[in-house]
Symmetry: C2
């Protein structure tokens, strides 16, 4: 196993950071690594806002659901799908951009995710830790206003970056056979793989909580999907100018 | 610059492969690296189909827009957003999954992209090359049928993997200042950054084509966005059971 594969397989989400700020060189290496990820037809349909301002981080910590590490981390990145730049490019060529399809939305959302994951890997390779913050979608209107996002830009997720100040250990994943299929999708194995993973996660939780938390993955998922989650997203995205034809 | 950052920044898309197949160990290392990417609330809402069957690769090469490398590469991965497994987990807990929001769709689409980018990095660290295939969305119904995808699963993109048999060089990206914003989004710089990148890309194209291709990025984008792209995606996704409330 080479060093990079080893690094990838040792990922854990960091939720406690030292106060040490990132250097400009570190930030640049992270952003440049992000940029080298693949992009659909080279559209590069994303932007990233790096927040270091303490007041803004404090506000964002509240908006993302009172997550202390958003305030505590030295750099909080907000990864945005961005079709504003593409519209500017079209305008520069006296062309009216035709957009508003689900396809356009998928491309921008995928583009930013690929870039962000490269950033995560780059940061971790430099001894930094990260955690993705889906909570940025809790209050997307307020976040967009605070970050002054123009039309056709939306915050997809946040990412704390900094020097780790704890080691939470690695969380087990589904077995590879559960997510990997050969030539065709084999739905007959799904149930059994969930049950196997349920046992793995039961032991993991029991061990981490010294016997206090006795649950399984499928129960967590059932609890999560018992009600709609962040049902405001569609309306918010339309306010930002996105369409889904 | 450490080895991993160097690797990330040397990415280029490979469109010509040696016939040499991947070993089972290589495939496993790639999939396990993918799985260690972050996942929203540990939902792991993705699956990946590894196609090695020559007949299927041939068919997929046609369906993705006659891309020869899809047939030629030893392993063609199709990365799918997957909420089928989550519904199975809910069923196992006698719970009816409430889904159908834009949020659910974003989570699954982001989850699979993060995993895929880890796979790309792992493959490249092992000396392999990759190229993302957005063309998998050209004929998503036929692809889904061929791969036997169940309801609530959709193919987001493909990925060729194999030993590189050419070196296309690195394609320049937008300047980091174009995509990175400090504390707030600075839309006043966008136009200038596009014009700067246009010049970079003009030189790049001229050099690569020995003066034959004289164009700029904004013109390419304008040509691309003059008409709707893959306008069938929304209807296809609804057929697969996705909703976007």
């Amino acid at each position: 196993m080479n060093q990079t594969v080893k690094l990838l397989q040792q990922h854990r989400s960091i939720r406690k950071y030292k106060t040490e700020p990132l250097s400009e060189d570190q930030i640049l290496a992270i952003i440049q690594s992000a940029q080298m990820a693949s992009s659909s037809s080279n559209v590069q349909a994303y932007s990233v806002i790096g927040v270091t301002d303490p007041g803004m981080k404090k506000e964002l910590a509240v908006l993302t659901g009172n997550q202390a590490y958003v305030e505590q981390c030295p750099l909080f990145l907000i990864w945005c799908a961005d079709m504003f730049r593409l519209r500017e490019a079209c305008t520069l060529q006296d062309t009216e951009m035709v957009h508003g399809t689900m396809e356009n939305f998928i491309v921008a959302t995928v583009d930013v995710a690929l870039a962000a994951q490269n950033a995560a890997v780059a940061a971790e390779s430099m001894g930094l830790g990260i955690v993705y913050i889906g909570g940025i979608r809790n209050n997307p209107r307020e976040v967009s206003k605070l970050l002054m996002l123009p039309e056709l830009v939306y915050p997809v997720f946040g990412m704390c970056v900094g020097v780790p100040d704890h080691d939470p250990g690695i969380r087990p994943r589904l077995a590879s056979e559960a997510v990997y299929h050969r030539n065709t999708y084999d739905s007959s194995k799904t149930r059994l793989e969930i049950e196997k993973y349920d046992q793995v996660m039961r032991e993991y939780y029991l061990e981490r909580t010294k016997g206090k938390r006795d649950t399984v993955w499928s129960k967590e998922m059932a609890d999560k999907y018992r009600q709609p989650v962040r049902a405001h997203m569609r309306a918010f995205l339309e306010e930002q100018g996105f369409r889904f034809e």
